[in-house]
Subunit: 361 residues, 2 copies
């Protein structure tokens, strides 16, 4: 087991990465204010892992209130959130009862937002069961739900007390979800670490074959990069925005198609290629490097362009309600080169239009 | 105009107290990241003050998105919260658009929670229009909504950037609401300042007659006391709990009768007398001092006992789901004497039962 520390003053916490961690519930028990937790999971993950985690927690003397939700991004909404509140209240959970998220990014975001807002905040623990959640949504404290008019529009910052990233659970992950997780892995390399990008080019097949050492290295390196950036800027007023590389385009795709049609990672994958294409057109990343990114995304089995169902005008409209839009100007993360991203606060909508049109849409 | 500073490191802010402050929107404009706000008000307050505030903001160059909600504690729920989210999104408010609460405690709590959670947090400004909101809910950063199973069960801590407490708006306050506000005024004196309690005994008639100097003094002194306690303990892990004097009993009354039947201040008034009665029975405050509190509450025109409709067993049941209950024990704020409260973490439910029974219920 390796541990990455996320340094956030009095909200610092550890991310444990390794095999067999579901059985290591003493790592959870150590951070709890009382020996009782509510475990929030979904109908796909709970049958696989809820019993094992509950049994492990029981051995550590921790009682479990199970809360099992419907599975899918389309359920990351206020109705499902209310199911969590209702269950916490029905079971008389109090301010010392931690909420444990056992699932992917949707469960983590939703359970985290419930933890942030139940009785004005209770402790939160993440046990991410997808590669995407392990490398991305379990780091940084972002929690939230979707609104019909936009993704993650309702939310809060709420740091976990501890994160357990168990490599064993990735064995049951559907192929499509594994690939979606690789989108964020590629993102971390693209925005901050050219050597890691090289490593990904050399190890993409090992990752797709789920070789444990390769996966553990990718999780650790991605978590380290994200933790570094978050520690610089917990509330996303500055450099943290770099982590949104590909996300403004990606959110437009998700909103335009309706949540759940494409996976988040798939939308981000196409969004990264689009943002890199725009970077290239605006004099940033050069064409060979752009091509390396496009090819790596394609090798991961991920989409490299936006779905044709969303035409250019609609795409631009969807981008401007994204919450990264500030006072009408387009704020985008662009690439100077592989391993180096920057924030562009005044991208002209026309440049985006030209890029979108060139995609043949 | 006087200004009380609430010292909370990088979340410090000023509370301005005086006449004519609705016209002083430059005090708001000074703290805004962009010249646009959403003003959340209700159908009672908006016709009285929304135009004046909007005109003042316009003179300061600030655009206003008005959001007018139904009035009443029974609307402090997720349905009304969603109306705010929907309006913010429909008007494309972004992370720099501040939410301004123009109204009483319900509007402040609900708009504050919307500000805490819209796009993971936007700036928040309070313009409280009731005495209760001026002396209590505009200080301390507590925001939230009710759940059918409990008051303020969903919420967040979110500090305002500035508070404008305008004495002029209190002239339109219904008598019953003025009296409800005096409950929290009495509370602040009872828990922390015997000299202020003496002053209230000498000036209760002036306050009920709405003499501006008396009101301004009471608002200032109450805000100072609350700000001192909050600065000691922003997240309510320790001494801040003293501000809950009367509230565990009061919340049981509000929940038992259904929200909106009694005003919050009325429930707290009865709750304070009940908590003081319990203190007296457990060897704290002496009988003459208890009687002074009871008489002052009665002189303010406030109830001094629980409604007979809630019998003792039901009352105890309602208390134990209150969020101040910790792992089954009753946590209550009791009085050692007038001006000095303490936290009792292990009050025996039987002592509460004896007190409730002695009330003849």
């Amino acid at each position: 087991m390796q541990t990455v520390r996320v340094a956030l003053a009095d909200r610092s916490y550890g991310i444990h990465i390794g095999a067999g961690l579901l059985a290591r519930s003493e790592l959870i028990a150590a951070v709890l204010p009382q020996p009782r937790v509510a475990v929030v999971s979904n109908t796909t993950v709970a049958p696989l892992y809820l019993d094992a985690l509950s049994a492990s927690l029981a051995r550590s003397g921790v009682g479990v209130v199970p809360i099992v939700l419907p599975d899918g991004e389309q359920h990351k909404n206020r109705q499902t959130l209310n199911l969590v509140y209702d269950a916490l209240l029905a079971n008389r959970c109090d301010r010392g009862t931690a909420v444990v998220a056992l699932g992917g990014g949707v469960i983590g975001d939703l359970a985290g937002f419930a933890a942030a807002t139940y009785q004005r905040g209770v402790p939160f623990v993440q046990v991410p069961t997808t590669l995407l959640a392990q490398v991305d949504s379990s780091v940084g404290g972002k929690t939230g739900i979707n609104h019909p008019l936009g993704k993650n529009m309702i939310g809060a910052f709420h740091q976990p007390s501890v994160v357990l990233a168990d490599m064993d659970v990735l064995r049951s992950l559907p192929e499509r979800e594994l690939r979606a997780g690789l989108a964020e892995v590629i993102k971390h390399a693209a925005i901050r670490d050219a050597a890691y990008f090289d490593w990904l080019e050399a190890n993409m097949e090992a990752l797709l074959a789920r070789e444990p050492d390769a996966l553990a290295y990718a999780v650790r390196r991605s978590v380290e990069i994200k933790a570094e950036v978050v520690a610089l800027d917990e509330r996303e007023t500055g450099p943290r925005a770099l982590l949104n590389f590909g996300h403004t385009f990606g959110h437009a795709i998700e909103t335009g198609l309706g949540y759940g049609e494409w996976l988040h990672g798939e939308a981000v994958a196409a969004g990264m290629v689009m943002a890199a294409d725009l970077s290239r057109r605006l004099g940033g990343i050069d064409s060979p490097a752009f091509e390396r990114l496009r090819v790596l995304v394609a090798r991961a089995g991920l989409p490299v362009t936006a779905p044709p169902a969303i035409d250019t005008d609609r795409f631009l409209g969807l981008m401007s309600v994204d919450k990264k839009a500030r006072a009408g100007r387009l704020r985008l993360i662009l690439l100077a080169r592989l391993g180096a991203a920057y924030i562009s606060d005044d991208t002209a909508p026309d440049a985006v239009r030209t890029m979108l049109t060139a995609l043949g849409r």
